[in-house]
Structures are given as structure tokens and as C-alpha cells.
């Protein structure tokens, strides 16, 4: 080793001093610049979680404490009773235990918490399965069979097409048709929506997970699936959505008062060649569908202080035995839901601030 005990320190020339200071500044600037690129400051075109949530707020207004999308809803609780059929495909505990407790939420797919129930022909159903081992499975399902678009970029363009025109305060009626025309992947959704009408009840709807996932067996075999729940309740013949803005929650409370509501949880197994990374495309032709169990709902609560209120139904909270596919909407949903959740968790909702304060 060289002896450093008294390092000679001849003074630096002015030029050398300046060069060294500039060098230090350059190193710091490069690191800071790289960081500013990664966090998006120097990359303003990038689609970020807050870009999506801001777009939802632009279209629907800001309703403190409430979800930025699917804002109007109702909490439910019950359990899931597994059948034996999923066990060969997935090692998740939810399929090996007889019963797993469930908290859920029915909602209107709109960012406006005051939207009339008949304003959209869609309903959504989110679920949290709490496994005994502490792992959870969360899923957000919709009554449509496919998503209008396959990528977060296209979803953002769709939100922008629905944005209010600053001059009129309303969306330009030409924008949405123009968006659909320039996005042919929306055709299957548009074909479905033509036939869809607002249902009179949450209880009689089929809800589809839409995005694909993998069931992973104990020996590591992966099977791509799409899941959904099919109701055991049925509309009376000729039933259609009643007048009024808020009939869905009343109907649900009434139905639960006379007994539990049941859905069958189905998994559609992908055939080779089915798109597993594009939620805008249907899986056509014949498919093996397994009935993995029965979802039983026993009670409901208003969302203002219900157990579902503080749950972020992030579709990537999955137990061991279920894995995400490469569908780009899954990561985008997870990222945007986290941003929406942070905003509303930090706000006091005018809907529940008063009852909250009166609690001990």
C-alpha cells in the first residue's frame, strides 16, 4: 500500500479548480436528470397513473372521498363455497378450503356518484376473497363480455373523447363516434352494447372478469383463464329497469332481506390461440368451462360506511396459485386504482363525514 499519511496538496490552478467543480456539477446533474426522466418530469408525454385519474376527474368532477370511477355502489358480504373442480388447476387456498369469506361491492361503471341507475347499461361487481392463510384475491368484474379497448393508451383516448368541451361544458357529440371509428378494436364491445339494456337488479346480472389470468397448479402448470359469475337469481319475465334514480340498491337490500343471493363462479379455459393479453377480444368457439364454486351473498351495507369502502379492488392482488396475464390493462388498472385510492383515502367524504364524527 502507498502511504497516504500526509497527502501532498499542492493548490489547484484556477482552471483546474473550475474544471473539477464543473465535473462534480455534471455528475450530479446527470444523476438528477436521469431521475427526472424516470419520474416523468422530463417525459411529459408518458401516460401516468395520475393522467388517467385526472381524466376521470375532468369528465366526472371531483367527489371527495369517493372512487374516481364506479363511484356509486353498495357493499355486500358473504362467502365463497369452492367446488373441487379448480383444485387440479390452481393451488390457491380459496379453491382448497370449503369456505372463504368475501367482501364485495356492486357499482355503476361511471365516475359520477349521482348517476341515475338507468344511465348506463352496465353494472360492476368487485370482490375480495380473504383466504385463511392471509393472502387475498381481489377482482373487479363488469357485466359486459369484453372491454371496449385493449390498451391503457386507447382507454385514455376514450376518456378524452368523453371530456367536456370547455366552451359548452358538455362532451362534443362528434368526439366519441370519431374515437370508435378510429379504434376498430371497439367493435365487439359496440356490438354487445347495442343489445344491452340497464338491468333492474344487481342480482340478475352476469359479471365478467374480462382480463385473462393464469391458474397455477401445485406442480407449476399454468392455464390461462377468464372468469365470471353467473347469477342463480333471474328476472321475472318482462322485468325492466323501473323509473327512479336509485332502484338498484333498494332492490338488492330487499332481495337480501328474503335470503342469500348466489352466483356460480366459472372459469373459461383458454384454447391455444386465444388472445390472453387483449381484453377487447372475445374468446370465440367452444371452450371448456369449469364451475369452481358458488358465491353466496348474505348482507349489504351502504358504501358510505360499509366494509368495502376502504378496499382498493386492485385486480393484481392475487393469492399464490393465480397469476396475472400480460394484459396491459391489468397493470394500468392496478396503477390507476392506487392513485385513485390515495386521493380518496386522504379526503373526507361529505357522504360519511357526519356519521364518522359521531362515532367514538
Amino acid at each position: 500500500m502507498v502511504d497516504h499519511s500526509s497527502p501532498p496538496r499542492p493548490p489547484l490552478s484556477t482552471a483546474s479548480l473550475i474544471a473539477r467543480l464543473v465535473g462534480i456539477g455534471a455528475v450530479v446533474a446527470v444523476v438528477a436528470g436521469a431521475f427526472a426522466y424516470v419520474n416523468g418530469t422530463l417525459d411529459p408525454q408518458r401516460l401516468r397513473p395520475k393522467t388517467l385519474v385526472n381524466a376521470l376527474e375532468t369528465n366526472n368532477g371531483v367527489h371527495p372521498g369517493l372512487r374516481r370511477n364506479h363511484a356509486k355502489g353498495v357493499c355486500v358480504a358473504g362467502y365463497f363455497e369452492s367446488s373441487a373442480e379448480a383444485r387440479a388447476y390452481s393451488s390457491a387456498q380459496v379453491f382448497s378450503e370449503a369456505k372463504t369469506p368475501v367482501i364485495g361491492r356492486f357499482a355503476l361503471p361511471s365516475g359520477n356518484p349521482y348517476a341515475p341507475d338507468s344511465s348506463v347499461p352496465l353494472r360492476s361487481f368487485a370482490l375480495q376473497f380473504s383466504q385463511a392463510n392471509g393472502q387475498q384475491w381481489r377482482t373487479g368484474m363488469n357485466s359486459m363480455p369484453v372491454f371496449p379497448v385493449g390498451t391503457p393508451e386507447a382507454f385514455y383516448q376514450m376518456l378524452k373523447a368523453g371530456a367536456p368541451d370547455p366552451a359548452t361544458g358538455k362532451p362534443n357529440p362528434a368526439n366519441m363516434p370519431a374515437f370508435f371509428a378510429s379504434h376498430p378494436e371497439t367493435a365487439p364491445f359496440l356490438a354487445w352494447v347495442k343489445t344491452a339494456k340497464p338491468s333492474a337488479s344487481y342480482a340478475t346480472e352476469t359479471y365478467n372478469g374480462i382480463n385473462a389470468f393464469y391458474l397455477v397448479s401445485a406442480d407449476g402448470q399454468r392455464q390461462a383463464v377468464r372468469w365470471g359469475v353467473v347469477p342463480q337469481s333471474q328476472d321475472a319475465p318482462g322485468d325492466s329497469a323501473p323509473a327512479g334514480n336509485d332502484f338498484l340498491e333498494k332492490d338488492l337490500v330487499q332481495r337480501l332481506a328474503s335470503g342469500p343471493l348466489r352466483w356460480q363462479l366459472n372459469m373459461t379455459l383458454a384454447n391455444s390461440g386465444d388472445p390472453v393479453d387483449d381484453a377487447s377480444k372475445a374468446w370465440t368457439g367452444s371452450h371448456k368451462v369449469i364451475n369452481v364454486g358458488t358465491l353466496v351473498l348474505q348482507s349489504s351495507q351502504p358504501q358510505a360506511d360499509g366494509d368495502c369502502r376502504d378496499i382498493n379492488f386492485d385486480p393484481l392482488i392475487l393469492p399464490s396459485g393465480i397469476e396475472a396475464s400480460n394484459d396491459p390493462l391489468l397493470a394500468a388498472r392496478s396503477a390507476a386504482y392506487a392513485s385513485s385510492y390515495l386521493r380518496r383515502a386522504g379526503e373526507v367524504s361529505p357522504l360519511h363525514s357526519a356519521p364518522q364524527e359521531s362515532k367514538p
Binding site: 500500500m1 497516504h4 499519511s5 497527502p7 496538496r9 489547484l12 479548480l17 473539477r20 467543480l21 465535473g23 462534480i24 455528475v27 450530479v28 444523476v31 438528477a32 436521469a34 431521475f35 424516470v38 419520474n39 416523468g40 408518458r46 401516460l47 401516468r48 397513473p49 393522467t51 388517467l52 392463510n133 392471509g134 393472502q135 387475498q136 391503457p152 369502502r309 376502504d310 378496499i311 382498493n312 386492485d314 393484481l316 392482488i317 392475487l318 399464490s320 397469476e323 396475472a324 400480460n326 396491459p328 391489468l330 397493470a331 394500468a332 392496478s334 396503477a335 390507476a336 385510492y341 390515495l342 380518496r344 383515502a345 386522504g346
Partner: protein, 179 residues
């Protein structure tokens, strides 16, 4: 070995450089995932959580090493304000290294989410589910991460200042050598 050491103990230096890499990677991973809706968001989160717990474990080892080994003294001719800045920034660095992983762990707990380090490794919740608390912890996690990044930049600039301008052996005390 009678006088003060001129170098940090080998274990302290190993931990310093290993953690320097991990923490800089962690800061970029965190900033990147918070600003992405692409698949990157997902795989960065899967790196962020186990790396954060590894940093938490290493910082505890590092504090033990710090208090059980002798530190090379700062040069006697260092101006007082620089001595104070050095001590304060090191205190801040250690504090943030310790606090940030704990905040991350606590905020996931407060959201009511399972704290998963992989598809099957689960940590216990640090706090009960509490959405308003989540919002506070999540914001603190973000702001303090930016503070850590700025402190790391200052630390880097000061190290280069010692190495290139003052040439006083402070940078060498961490880059290597044997007493």
C-alpha cells in the same frame, strides 16, 4: 492501530457500497413505478418490496457495524459548517434508510393489503387497516424518498468535493485501503 483509523472498517465499506447501489436503484425503481401504468409498474413493484426489506435488514446490520467499529475522523481543518453538515446529512441518511422501508411496509398494511414479498412470502401487517392513515403514510413515503434522493445527491457532491477539490483523504476513507 494506536491512532485514529484513516479508513472505514472493511465491513463498513462493503455495506456502504452495496447499500449505495441498492438505495439508488430503489429510488429509481420507486420513482419509475409511481409514474407508470405499463407492465413496468408491476414488475418494478415486485422488485421494490423485497429490495426494501433487504435494505431494512442491512441498515440494521450497518448500524451495529457503525457503533462497533471506529470511524476515521474528519480532517482537523474542515470548516465547522461543513463538519455540522456532514454529521447532519449522515444522520438524515441513516434515518431515512431506516424509516422509508418501515413506511412502505406500514402503508401497505394500512391499506388493508396483504404484505407480499413474492407470490407466497407474506409479512405480518405493521398496523391495522386504516385508509386515512394509509394516505398519510403513502404521502410521507413519497416525500421522504425525494428527501433521501436530494440527500444522496448532496452526499455524492460532497464526496467528490473532498476527493477532487480538498483532496483530504475523506473520499479515500470509504474507497479503500488498509490501516
Amino acid at each position: 492501530m494506536n491512532g485514529s483509523p484513516r479508513f472505514f472498517a472493511p465491513m463498513a465499506r462493503l455495506l456502504h457500497w452495496l447499500m449505495a447501489l441498492m438505495i439508488i436503484a430503489m429510488l429509481f425503481i420507486g420513482a419509475g413505478l409511481a409514474a407508470s401504468v405499463s407492465e413496468r409498474h408491476e414488475w418494478l413493484i415486485h422488485l421494490h418490496k423485497p429490495l426494501g426489506i433487504a435494505i431494512l435488514a442491512l441498515v440494521i446490520v450497518r448500524l451495529v457495524v457503525r457503533f462497533s467499529t471506529r470511524q476515521p475522523p474528519l480532517p482537523a481543518d474542515l470548516p465547522l459548517w461543513q463538519v455540522l453538515a456532514a454529521k447532519a446529512s449522515h444522520l438524515l441518511l441513516y434515518g431515512l434508510m431506516l424509516v422509508l422501508p418501515l413506511l412502505g411496509w406500514a402503508m401497505i398494511s394500512a391499506a388493508g393489503d396483504p404484505v407480499m414479498l413474492s407470490s407466497s412470502i407474506q409479512l405480518p401487517s405493521l398496523v391495522a387497516a386504516n385508509a386515512p392513515l394509509f394516505a398519510v403514510l403513502r404521502k410521507a413515503h413519497g416525500y421522504l424518498a425525494y428527501l433521501l434522493f436530494l440527500t444522496v445527491l448532496l452526499h455524492l457532491a460532497a464526496a467528490l468535493f473532498h476527493g477532487l477539490i480538498r483532496r483530504d483523504g475523506v473520499l479515500q476513507s470509504m474507497t479503500g485501503g488498509k490501516d
